[in-house]
């Protein structure tokens, strides 16, 4: 509408008001954007008779003004690489099925502007020796902790785990100093025991990890595992070389810093490892212990990738079982209520929050987390019908 027209309309309306006092515009639909245009000139030009104006504004509305809404869609120039985890027989491996992560074209769960993204996936933590676990996790696995193959099997068979994350922590010279050869044997045993894809982790010892991962990569050749991890302090070149040679992907771990993450990714890319074989681990802190840093870090990384920073266009892995490090998750306390509930809930909420901020692959440990988060992802991907019938919570809540 032209400004001139608006003024004429406004003038007419003022005249009407002066003539009849209150005007009734019942059952007349005024398009809302017209209304704002009309009313604004009146309010500014009618200082001599504000009472009339307020009467016009407040009395005439008997039916709802019409409004329109179109989803505020953004198109991002970049997209996140897709990483395939595991290989079936036809790809040269022996897994029952493969898992794909990444491929995002938008922020997590913004399905109003981008569909067909891969769902995040939960991996489960298995160790090559019995370790100290929170009681509420341990109770499910105490009979299998001596045998990583059985441990993995239990997760897959009883709790429907989609990926096993095997942590070869006993290779640490300060723990058991398990030999590279024995560690590789463990990898073979787990591969035989379960038919889901595998993440193979070292102990965190910077000298030994590259050797352990190299040997593990060799015995799992063709299975498209994930080697965990290459970082700025270890011989990442050796790990990358093994990944390339035997067809695996690599986790690039950095402690809480987007620039260091970018730098490390660049190193791996420069070694000739494609984006489709890199997963970032920018550090996952537990709820209450720095989760906010993780959240913002992941959102920044994801946004940077979507905006076109090709050094940050890899999917993100989040070891959300770090939640068990929070004392609220494991400590016995009358005051805080039963830890059997607190612990899994702590992990569940840590995982959900990381999922909403951009995590693509999680490593969790409690069966309740697996169940809840998996279900929630199915819901958020619209794969499940809703049974919810009412919004009258006011009278229908129990109690």
């Amino acid at each position: 509408m032209e400004e001139k027209e608006t003024k004429i309309l406004a003038k007419n309306l003022i005249e009407l008001v002066e003539k009849f006092g209150d005007i009734e515009i019942e059952n007349v639909e005024i398009r809302a954007d017209e209304l704002t245009l009309i009313l604004q000139p009146i309010t500014s030009s009618l200082e001599q008779a504000p009472h009339l104006v307020s009467r016009v504004i407040e009395k005439e509305i008997e039916t709802l003004l019409v409004a329109e809404f179109s989803p505020p869609i953004e198109v991002y120039p970049g997209e996140i690489a897709e990483v395939q985890i595991g290989a079936t027989k036809s790809d040269g491996g022996s897994r029952r099925k493969v898992v794909k992560i990444g491929g995002a074209k938008s922020m997590p769960f913004y399905s109003f502007e981008a569909t067909d993204q891969n769902k995040p996936v939960l991996a489960v933590d298995v160790f090559d020796m019995p370790i100290k676990l929170a009681k509420s996790v341990k109770q499910h696995f105490k009979d299998v902790m001596e045998d990583p193959a059985e441990w993995a099997k239990k997760y897959v068979e009883d709790f429907d785990a989609e990926i096993v994350s095997l942590n070869l922590i006993s290779t640490d010279p300060l723990i058991k100093d398990t030999s590279v050869k024995d560690a590789a044997k463990t990898v073979e045993q787990v591969l035989q025991a379960v038919d889901v894809p595998l993440i193979i982790g070292g102990s965190g010892n910077k000298a030994k990890d590259p050797l352990v991962l190299e040997a593990a990569a060799e015995v799992s050749s063709g299975e498209r595992c994930i080697l965990n991890s290459a970082n700025a302090d270890n011989d990442y070149k050796k790990i990358v070389k093994a990944a390339k040679q035997y067809g695996h992907s690599v986790i690039a771990f950095t402690p809480m810093d987007i620039n260091n993450q970018k730098k490390l990714n660049r190193y791996l890319l420069d070694e000739g490892l494609p984006k489709e074989q890199i997963i970032m681990d920018p550090t996952t802190a537990a709820l209450g212990y720095g989760l906010d840093y993780t959240l913002s870090l992941m959102e920044r990384i994801k946004l940077a990738g979507l905006l076109g920073d090709s050094d940050l266009q890899m999917p993100i892995v989040a070891p959300t079982s770090n939640a068990w490090g929070a004392r609220e998750a494991w400590m016995k306390s009358e005051e805080w209520g039963p830890r059997e509930l607190r612990g899994p809930l702590w992990e569940t909420i840590t995982t959900i929050t990381v999922m909403m901020s951009g995590g693509d692959l999680f490593m969790s440990s409690h069966p309740a987390t697996l169940r809840v988060v998996k279900k929630m992802m199915q819901n958020l991907y619209g794969e499940v019908e809703s049974e919810q019938r009412t919004q009258d919570w006011i009278s229908e809540i129990q109690g």
């Binding site: 402690p255 039963p338 909420i349 909403m356 929630m376 958020l380 809540i397």
Partner: protein, 473 residues
């Protein structure tokens, strides 16, 4: 619909300031003050010249320019009033999220009077102390389940007498809310009215205006209807609105719900869609609708549903559970998300004394990551031990992370030893390091020639650890 208003930029804000560079606000120049205003580090009231009548117009202009795209709405009165909304960004790293999600606990008017009073007291006295902050529940949501206006009004008064928290009066029947609002003590507290719908909005508008109370606009799973309603209500002169798009907790509707929340917030912030620039309300308590619910799994469910909504822009939640184990993680998440990401994450490194230590007292060590530090110091102080605590600079990283990342090294420890003059403080040459830094034991021993003891993995165990292991000789 784009707003025609001038978008706040450094220059546009500066242009409307007095430009006297008087320094009364504490900033060296008006330009610096403008940037502080934009970063929400200062308010217009800090500029005393601007408060003078001759700047009235500029003041009005600036107020309008600096108003956040999501309106700030105040519920209640006085010191317990709750401020919600006031949001300016989509992601917290862009600035910070202001006004933490308020949490209301529901009460049904069909409960026994004594239970109502007990529940009020429990909500009001609930406090969780984390990292020096007192985390609380903020409001009471009174549900009219009885369908009896007098009972509802009676219970509203009962709650008003029992606790000081602001109220949300919940009924889709305006006549029920009206009877409660006729009681002066209720209306004077400026409760939030819940809710105006497509059918009852005319009556709700009258109540909201007559009693000057904020009003929730309820349009389940329908953004277009929501926009129609807020636009209409604004035209009738209602300004303090809260929006509710319904709360769906499972299946496809959950997906739509989450999408709706993102779209509404994005339209408000990026498109400056004024119809949608209001605080968002969600009702995790809806998980308690249904037959034969298991109280434990439902409480668990409510906590993660609430967390999901905190993760996605909710400014106000109504919850039902009072289970402590279920509320702790929700309040902790809220605290996490609403901390200012611009604040440093580290504390100063150096030597701290706990109690009154002497040269025989134990010497412990932790990192300068703020969360680690505060947890450790809290535990040590509350256990009543006398000792020294070395805070090593790990660039603000936690123990495990900084050991892995190489920010926590024996060289750091050695440097810290000399900079604090540790040799003059203790005689025993023994250092207790965190259990999670066990692998640095050898390195530190080599670098310092001190004996290194590996302490507990969690600082809550320090007292018992010292009792069992500590001797200076």
């Amino acid at each position: 619909m784009m707003s025609k208003e001038e978008k706040a930029s450094l220059l546009s804000v500066y242009r409307h300031l007095p430009q006297t560079n008087c320094g009364e606000c504490g900033a060296p120049s008006c330009m610096v003050f403008a940037s502080k205003l934009l970063n929400r580090e200062a308010t217009l009231e800090d500029c005393s010249p601007l408060m003078k009548p001759k700047y009235k117009e500029q003041m009005a202009r600036l107020t309008e320019m600096l108003a956040p795209p999501v309106k700030e709405v105040i519920i209640g009165v006085g010191e317990n009033a709750v401020k919600i909304g006031g949001k300016e960004v989509m992601y917290r790293h862009e600035l910070t999220y202001h006004n933490p999600t308020a949490i209301a606990i529901d009460i049904s008017d069909t409960m026994e009077d004594k239970k109502i009073v007990d529940r009020c007291n429990a909500v009001e006295s609930f406090i969780l102390v984390r990292i020096g902050e007192r985390l609380k529940l903020n409001m009471i949501a009174l549900r009219c389940k009885s369908k009896d206006p007098d009972r509802f009004a009676f219970v509203a008064s009962l709650i008003e007498k029992s606790c000081k928290l602001p109220l949300i009066l919940c009924s889709f029947d305006p006549n029920i809310l009206k009877v409660a609002l006729e009681k002066k003590e209720i209306a004077d507290k400026r409760p939030l009215l819940y809710a105006a719908t497509e059918d009852n909005w005319r009556e709700m508008v009258n109540l909201s205006k007559h009693y000057d109370c904020p009003l929730t606009v309820f349009a389940p799973n329908n953004i277009t209807l929501l926009k129609s309603m807020t636009r209409t209500l604004k035209a009738t002169g209602i300004h303090d609105m809260v929006i509710d798009l319904g709360t769906y907790t499972e299946g496809k509707l959950l997906k739509e719900n989450i999408n709706n929340l993102v779209m509404v917030r994005r339209a408000a912030i990026l498109r400056r869609d004024q119809d949608l620039g209001y605080p968002i309300m969600c009702i995790p308590a809806t998980v308690w609708v249904g037959e034969k619910l298991d109280p434990v799994t439902t409480s668990y469910r409510e906590a993660y549903v609430a967390s999901l909504f905190i993760d996605r822009y909710s400014d106000l939640l109504v919850m039902h559970t009072m289970d402590i184990w279920s509320l702790i993680p929700v309040l902790t998440l809220r605290q996490n998300i609403y901390t200012d990401p611009r604040k440093p994450v580290s504390v100063e490194s150096g030597l701290r004394t706990i109690g009154s230590p002497d040269e025989e007292s134990p010497l412990l060590l932790t990192t300068n990551f703020a969360l680690t530090y505060y947890t450790v110091i809290n535990d040590m102080e509350s256990s009543g031990i006398d000792c020294y605590l070395l805070v090593v600079d790990t660039e603000g990283l936690a123990v495990e992370v900084s050991v892995a990342g190489g920010q926590f090294t024996s060289a750091n420890v050695k440097d810290l030893f000399s900079s604090v003059g540790i040799e003059e403080k203790v005689r025993h040459h023994k250092l207790i390091i965190p259990g999670l830094a066990a692998r640095l034991k050898g390195d530190i021993e080599d670098a310092t020639n001190w004996e290194v003891l590996v302490g507990p993995r969690d600082s809550s165990q320090i007292k018992s650890y010292l009792a069992k292991n500590w001797t200076a000789r």
